[in-house]
């Protein structure tokens, strides 16, 4: 996937492929540093924002306003004792965090940070590399990241991690389908799968406006894909202790932590690229001609990514965790069918426009047909389903009216047994009268700490 491995420049997207090696290495380093710094930032940001949402201040001890908190946490994690369970499969246990973290970093290689700029005397795009199938690279990396979670769950040799790993595998594969389908409409609109091509196709109108349905489905499914609340069933602490990483400690745990946050940043960056105009300046700023040239676009890009991360944190601070079956129903029975119908409509609009139909006619006709033939019957079927369910619930209520069960409670005249007589603790050297213990208790908090 590195640019070194791509022969010639014939198959590349124009602008890549004839760069000197040292410049590519500098770009690799910059992307790496960006991801690590963004992770440190995102952790503090999340804790501060969640704190404010819960009427707290959040971390405020380390560094100015607590900004260095995640650095301190990272140092602490790296120096902690590492405990490996006896039953762990050593090789796979070691491999899992690496498999989790490496694809997370790799995925960022195709994300465009900005337009072509001048860097050390070379004109080069602010993007590590691009392929004609750039978005699929991100997709492939996220599907490889599943291995890290599944393998860690299995290799720990413990029950809760195994359950967490299996759950998360099912969850991520299911939501990958919805996520992939929501990208299809973008590919149709842009006519390319390369990330730089998709950004340049949004110079007039961001994809989020015409493809609002795809954007919503993408935004929902990436929360499931990254195992974040309210879809964090893989590490549901109320059910599974810590899920797949229960048995991990020290630096290996830090790798999982890193991978989770980088994945969050990656899907935010991909959402920015696919739907929010990439590095292009938002509306009032875009009136200024210099906004989309030089190094300014990096700022707009990072701003959009941070805004998307804020939504992630907002969700976590607001919504309770879903039940597993409800979560799977949402993915398979709601998101995917809606997506398929939507793609059908978008494709029809696309084909009709290509045939030279006027824009409004080519838009209204397919949407009308889809509404009439698919959405309306589906809604009617859903109405029927709801009515049947309500009827069943009413039947249950009738059943309850006949014999109202009560929770078994103790009788009202229950005699509570008297407490056993307290025996005096026997201490060597102090017999009779008040003991040393009693005296400590009598004098309150003098011996505390």
């Amino acid at each position: 996937m590195s640019p070194v491995a791509l022969p010639g420049s014939g198959q590349n997207v124009p602008g890549f492929g004839d760069l000197p090696i040292w410049l590519v290495l500098i770009k690799v380093l910059l992307v790496f540093v960006f991801l690590v710094v963004m992770t440190l930032f995102a952790i503090v940001f999340e804790r501060k924002v969640v704190g404010r949402m819960q009427n707290r201040i959040g971390p405020n001890r380390v560094g100015p306003w607590g900004t260095l908190q995640s650095l301190a946490d990272g140092m602490k994690l790296a120096f902690k004792e590492e405990i490996i369970p006896v039953l762990a499969d050593k090789a796979v246990y070691w491999l899992a965090p690496v498999v989790s973290a490496v694809p997370a970093f790799l995925a960022f290689s195709v994300i465009p940070f900005g337009p072509t700029v001048s860097m050390f005397g070379h004109r080069t795009p602010l993007q590590l590399t691009d392929l004609p199938v750039g978005v699929l690279v991100v997709f492939a990396c996220s599907s490889l990241g599943v291995y890290g979670i599944v393998l860690s769950g299995w290799a720990s040799g413990s029950t809760y991690p195994l359950l967490g790993g299996l759950r998360s595998a099912a969850q991520m594969i299911s939501y990958e389908v919805a996520m992939g389908l929501s990208m299809v409409a973008v590919f149709l609109f842009a006519g390319t799968m390369s990330t730089s091509g998709i950004v340049s196709s949004q110079d007039h109108l961001w994809n989020v406006i015409p493809l609002i349905v795809s954007f919503c489905i993408y935004a929902i499914s990436v929360v499931g894909e990254t195992n974040r609340a309210p879809f964090d069933l893989a590490e549901a602490e109320s059910e599974l202790v810590g899920g797949f990483h229960t048995e991990y400690s020290s630096f290996k745990f830090a790798m999982f932590f890193l991978a989770e946050y980088i994945n969050m940043i990656t899907v935010s960056a991909l959402a920015t690229t696919l739907f929010l105009g990439g590095w292009r300046a938002p509306w009032p700023l875009s009136l200024w001609h210099g906004a989309n040239a030089g190094w300014w676009p990096v700022l707009w890009f990072v701003g959009k990514v941070v805004a998307f991360i804020f939504v992630f944190v907002w969700l976590r601070g607001t919504l309770p965790r879903l039940r597993y079956d409800q979560f799977m129903h949402l993915g398979w029975k709601t998101l995917i069918p809606i997506n398929l119908v939507w793609i059908l409509a978008v494709t029809s609009i696309h084909v009709l426009r290509d045939r030279g139909w006027p824009a409004w006619k080519a838009t209204v006709l397919p949407l009308g047909i889809v509404l009439l033939l698919i959405v309306v019957p589906a809604l009617m079927a859903y109405e029927g389903y709801t009515a049947r369910r309500l009827a069943a619930a009413a039947e249950d209520d009738e059943d309850a009216g006949r014999e109202e069960p009560t929770f078994p409670i103790p009788p009202l005249d229950l005699r509570v047994p008297t407490s056993p007589v307290r025996r005096e603790p026997v201490t060597a050297g102090l017999r009779g009268g008040a003991t040393a213990l009693d005296r400590t208790i009598d004098h309150g908090d003098t011996s505390d700490g």
Binding site: M1, S2, P3, V4, A5, L6, P7, G8, G10, Q11, N12, V13, P14, D89, A91, V92, L95, L131, P132, V133, L136, V137, F139, A140, S143, L144, V146, Y147, V150, L151, G153, W154, G157, L162, G165, L166, A169, A170, I173, E176, T192, M193, S194, G197, A392, A393, D396, D397, D399, A400, E403, P405, T406, F407, P408
Partner: protein, 262 residues
């Protein structure tokens, strides 16, 4: 051997770009080691992981041989989805499950030998054709300007449309078949949460059954829990599918020395 060296000629004489040569010599051994490991490793999960490594390397090979779409689809579909499902099944089977030495299918050795020989023949023919002097196709013109996907789509939906549709029909039949086989008809409507809660309260025992071995000296699954007064809680032991009260009553009472308060 001579033919193999001939085929490797472009690699040795530098007509292959440096990056491609490096990628080939790094990934080739990994792919081979993965394939050998898949056959030789005892643990089923390790074996599956070796196969994952091989498939990932194959994807990278497609990438460096001017097939970016094919390479990434290989990684997404085979490495990402299908092998994960394999792993899923292997993990549910259990980490210590060993191979059964009893053959349940009659004549499977003969069938396996026949298929193996047939597959070896196919591979031999394929390699034979690869090392014979063939002119490699230049993909630069169909891939020019990032048109890789467009070229594949054009071929897939014109020249190979019939094969494509046939394959998709096969996949749909397989998916529907799996669904039909795994489908279980529900007897009567699904009880609502409200009804389940009421039935539980009516049963006179809303709390869960005590776990085995609670307050006892052992925590083995067959050791009954003890109530606070030291008597045996019979509901705490479930032997096989024995659920009814009568069957639990028939349990042997543990001897007096076992359990109880100290």
């Amino acid at each position: 051997m001579h033919e193999v060296l001939l085929a490797a000629g472009p690699l040795r004489h530098g007509t292959v770009p440096l990056g491609e040569a490096i990628a080939f010599w790094v990934l080739g051994p990994i792919a081979l080691a993965g394939a050998i490991g898949m056959v030789l490793l005892r643990n089923a999960v390790h074996s599956a992981l070796s196969l994952v490594a091989t498939m990932g390397c194959l994807g990278a090979f497609y990438l460096i041989q001017q097939g970016p779409f094919l390479g990434l689809v290989q990684i997404i579909v085979y490495t990402g989805a299908i092998m994960i499902l394999f792993l899923f099944v292997l993990m549910i089977v259990g980490r210590d499950a060993s191979d059964s030495l009893v053959e349940t299918l009659r004549g499977q050795r003969w069938a396996a030998a026949l298929l193996g020989v047939g597959f070896a023949l196919l591979v031999a023919i394929g390699i034979g054709r690869a090392v014979s002097p063939v002119t490699p196709t230049d993909l630069n013109s169909p891939n020019a300007g990032g048109n890789n996907v467009h070229s594949i789509a054009a071929l897939l939906f014109t020249r190979y449309l019939f094969a494509f549709e046939l394959t998709s029909a096969l996949l749909i039949v397989a998916a529907v078949g799996a669904m039909v086989l795994a489908h279980v008809e529900r007897e009567g409507p699904r009880p609502s949460q409200k009804r389940l809660a009421r039935e539980r309260i009516r049963s006179g025992r809303p709390q869960p059954l005590p776990g085995p071995g609670v307050l006892s000296q052992h925590n083995a699954i067959g050791t009954p829990a003890l109530l606070p007064d030291g008597s045996v809680a019979r509901e705490s032991v479930m032997v096989g599918s024995m659920e009814s009260q009568e069957e639990r009553q028939a349990l042997p009472t543990p001897s007096a020395g076992e359990g109880g308060f100290e």
